[in-house]
């Protein structure tokens, strides 16, 4: 290793999990419950696993109780398929939804505190796009723990993993995957607290690094969501699937972008424009305020573009209102306590008396590292990469296609986490010993480059320029010309970043160095998002091209992007799995290329 860096001793383990959100920890617990002697190490960028982004998921988790008299798994499958704009994989939809109820029991039996009604039945709320009987009426399908469902999942899975002897490395970042031949054998890790680089050699490695919301200017995502997992995969020559599928949540609180959950509208909150008129009935006559996210986001952006938005003087951001004044004290204080409190806390507004300012905010990445139904990572030719798995928001199996339904993400974490765990256990039976000659040359040259740069520029300004550009050109509305500008702009920003000198010298907890590395990841991810959006000359789900507003059959496939060197992207295709349609039978016809109207 390079002399300017401190190098710590290698670690060995059976399973290395990069990322301790809901997906990573659900997987860890599956492995440790079934095979307690497995040595599992888990890395997180944040100061403790509980601080992972999953802890902030508020609204709920979609699932059908098998004893439910009206709701059925098949309706949930249909909604997910339709919501995805016919681009989710049907084998995945079926597998996840059919095992969802079992996962609720798993969580509750290990200490999660789901909300229940007086009769002791699980409470449920409805979210955009969840319906009964193939679109007939609203389905009450999301179970929840008050407004802290994600926290409940994190507390439970973290507790279980701790109980079963997992080994955590906190404030540690995976910077490079290690391979022997085509088999993944671990990762290079920068331990921030010690300021040293180590190698962790493992028989199996799981990427569970979460989202990439920091690509955009206003986002509901946490500060650490910089798309590291995607950048790790791309750097290893592996593809990212459907990067252009980025979801914007319609109701971010103006300013910090904090998410004002669908729960507000599900409990009766109404969107109003500058003239205080409700407008959703013009865009989605049936579902109105509860239409899926992309529809509501575009409706709000359209209101704003057509001069019916309101300007917030502090942040200089246009927005619309959400009206909660007519909701009962009980609903606002008890059912939505934490969320309605947000307005008080973060913008000094009392939702009981005043209108609350909201605008679309980046929220979720449907795209990710392509995997099989067991979370096994696929390369560009769709062969699985031995020893490497990906789950959670950074992965695409694909359960969400081009648009995720509310309450379907944390369902994906706990189901795919379990499936990947089962597959890891099988893999470990025959996995070869973990050795590697690779020393992490890539990481070392990258980090030496960061420390040696001499130019005068500001990381903050470069990042801000990237976020503004991505929001404007690759956000809710996209066009050919705008995307071309974005691609050119990103190249310039990458050059500027490469020359920027850092001021912090020591390596221990050097946050500037980490921000510099994250900026590279963000620029990489932005580039694949913009190029894939440019390549897909149609509109589908959350990907909306103003110049090609219709969905086209010729694009009925998943985009695969690889990037051998910065800006040089190659495209491939993965077919959309239509196995429910192909299997025929009762409701099969509902799973064709249907129209996405609400």
């Amino acid at each position: 290793m390079n002399r300017i860096f401190k190098k710590g001793p290698d670690f060995y383990c059976d399973l290395l999990i990069i990322g301790t959100g809901g997906a990573g920890l659900r997987c860890a617990t599956e492995v440790l419950e079934k095979r307690p002697e497995t040595s599992v190490m888990a890395l997180t960028k944040v100061s403790h696993p509980q601080k992972s982004h999953t802890s902030t998921a508020q609204g709920g988790l979609a699932v059908v109780d098998p004893r439910d008299p009206v709701d059925k798994n098949i309706f949930h499958m249909f909604d997910t398929w339709k919501g995805s704009d016919c681009t989710a994989d049907q084998n995945i939809i079926k597998k996840i939804i059919e095992s969802s109820w079992e996962q609720i029991l798993w969580l509750e039996n290990r200490g999660m505190h789901f909300s229940r009604d007086i009769e002791g039945k699980l409470s449920k709320r409805t979210f955009g796009g969840h319906t009964l009987n193939f679109g007939e009426s609203l389905a009450y399908r999301a179970v929840f723990e008050a407004d802290r469902t994600g926290k409940g999942i994190m507390d439970t899975t973290w507790g279980e993993a701790l109980k079963r002897g997992i080994r955590f490395l906190t404030q540690s970042i995976a910077t490079e995957l290690l391979f022997t031949g085509n088999q993944c054998v671990g990762s290079v890790v920068f331990k921030q607290k010690e300021g040293e680089f180590i190698r962790i050699l493992s028989k199996a490695t799981i990427i569970a690094t979460g989202g990439c919301g920091q690509v955009f200017k206003v986002t509901t995502n946490c500060r650490q969501n910089t798309g590291d997992g995607l950048a790790l995969a791309l750097q290893a020559g592996l593809p990212v699937m459907d990067p252009e599928a980025v979801q914007f949540h319609p109701t971010g609180i103006v300013g910090p972008g904090i998410l004002a959950s669908e729960a507000l509208r599900s409990e009766g909150g109404v969107l109003r424009n500058k003239d205080l008129k409700p407008f959703m009935e013009r865009y989605a006559p049936k579902m109105k305020d509860l239409a899926p996210r992309d529809l509501v986001s575009r409706a709000i952006e359209t209101e704003i573009r057509q001069g019916r938005g309101v300007l917030n003087p502090d942040h200089g951001i246009y927005h619309v209102w959400i009206d909660l004044r007519h909701l009962s004290e009980y609903v606002l204080d008890m059912k939505l306590g934490e969320i309605s409190h947000f307005f008080n806390k973060f913008v000094n507004i009392n939702p009981k008396e005043e209108l609350c300012p909201v605008c679309p905010s980046n929220h979720y990445h449907m795209g990710g590292i392509p995997t099989t139904e067991f979370g096994e990572v696929q390369n560009g030719s769709q062969d699985t990469v031995p020893g490497l798995f990906a789950i959670g928001e950074c992965a695409a199996a694909s359960f969400h296609g081009f648009n995720r339904l509310a309450a379907n993400s944390i369902l994906e974490l706990i189901t795919m986490g379990k499936f990947a765990g089962e597959r890891v256990l099988e893999y470990l039976k025959e996995a070869p010993a973990e050795t590697s000659k690779a020393e992490g040359e890539h990481t070392l040259s990258l980090f030496s480059g960061y420390l040696e740069a001499q130019g005068r520029d500001s990381l903050g300004r470069i990042r801000e320029a990237m976020q503004t550009m991505m929001t404007g050109k690759a956000g809710v509305f996209r066009t050919e010309a705008g995307l071309l500008e974005a691609v050119e702009g990103l190249k310039e920003l990458k050059d500027r970043a490469a020359k920027t000198a850092l001021s912090t010298r020591g390596l221990i907890m050097n946050q500037e160095l980490v921000r510099r590395w994250e900026l590279d990841n963000l620029l990489t991810v932005s580039m694949v998002i913009a190029c894939a959006a440019l390549n897909r000359r149609e509109s589908r789900g959350a990907h909306y091209r103003e110049d090609f507003p219709e969905r086209k059959n010729e694009y009925n496939y998943h985009t695969l992007t690889t990037m051998e060197e910065s800006g040089r992207i190659e495209f491939g295709k993965r077919p959309v799995d239509m196995s429910i349609l192909e299997a025929g039978g009762g409701h099969a016809q509902k799973f064709g290329m249907i129209k996405r109207e609400y």
């Binding site: 509980q50 902030t56 290990r110 910090p256 942040h315 850092l502 221990i508």
Partner: protein
């Protein structure tokens, strides 16, 4: 023109390589509803990229951004400039790292060390109670849950532990006590004895002097002292 405040942040800094501590002043114009984390971002972007500080969710849900502002432990992502000026009646703010674990750099402390105390009380179900006949889960009624639901809302921000006057050395701390109390009150947990041993050990609830500082600072508005008082009275044995 939107209203702004001219503020000064006096930030406690520490450089681990040189083992050097100092206080650094930052001056800025800040809009009314900017939060303290926004100010830290501004410092990094516009004035001083070397300042190290911590946050994650930046919306009061994860407990990563705790710092001490003018003597009060709080979440930097929840403190609006306007509210801070009113609350502390000043535009000068002294900002220190939380005093519950060793400082690594500037405002960043070793949270893993702080969490060791929570780990000691085993924040999980040790021995699950058997399921009622013909049930696939052990349902908790809303009435049962009501008794301790507030204790489950803790995000381990350690603000209470920092405010607590009982010694950090001899007391596991208010949030660790809460974690233990949750599982004592949770009917799904069978192993109560082991929990009582920790709660009533010489690092347990009797170290508490009932000052209620924990309740006062808790950003989640949990009445921490109430739960600890219940434990002292033995009133958590359902």
């Amino acid at each position: 023109m939107a209203k702004t405040y001219s503020i000064t942040l006096k930030i406690h800094r520490y450089n681990p390589e040189e083992d050097r501590s100092w206080i650094q002043d930052y001056h800025m114009e800040a809009g009314r509803i900017l939060r303290f984390v926004d100010l830290f971002h501004k410092i990094n972007d516009e004035q001083d990229s070397t300042l190290a500080w911590n946050s994650s969710c930046e919306h009061g849900q994860c407990g990563t951004c705790s710092v001490i502002v003018n003597g009060k432990p709080l979440l930097a992502c929840e403190l609006l400039v306007e509210n801070a000026v009113h609350r502390f009646r000043t535009t000068t703010f002294i900002i220190e790292p939380l005093d519950v674990a060793p400082v690594i750099r500037d405002l960043m402390v070793d949270m893993e060390k702080a969490y060791e105390k929570v780990n000691q009380v085993k924040p999980y179900i040790i021995e699950p109670a058997p399921l009622p006949v013909e049930r696939d889960v052990y349902p908790i009624t809303p009435n049962e849950l009501e008794l301790y639901v507030n204790a489950t809302r803790c995000i381990n921000c350690f603000c209470c532990a920092s405010a607590c006057i009982s010694s950090h050395k001899s007391f596991l701390g208010p949030n660790a006590m809460l974690a233990a109390i949750v599982r004592v009150m949770d009917p799904r947990e069978q192993e109560k004895e082991e929990r009582f041993k920790v709660l009533y050990s010489d690092q347990g609830v009797y170290r508490c002097h009932s000052t209620q500082a924990c309740t006062f600072v808790c950003p989640k508005e949990i009445d921490v002292a109430h739960f600890i008082a219940l434990a002292k009275e033995g009133a958590i044995k359902l």
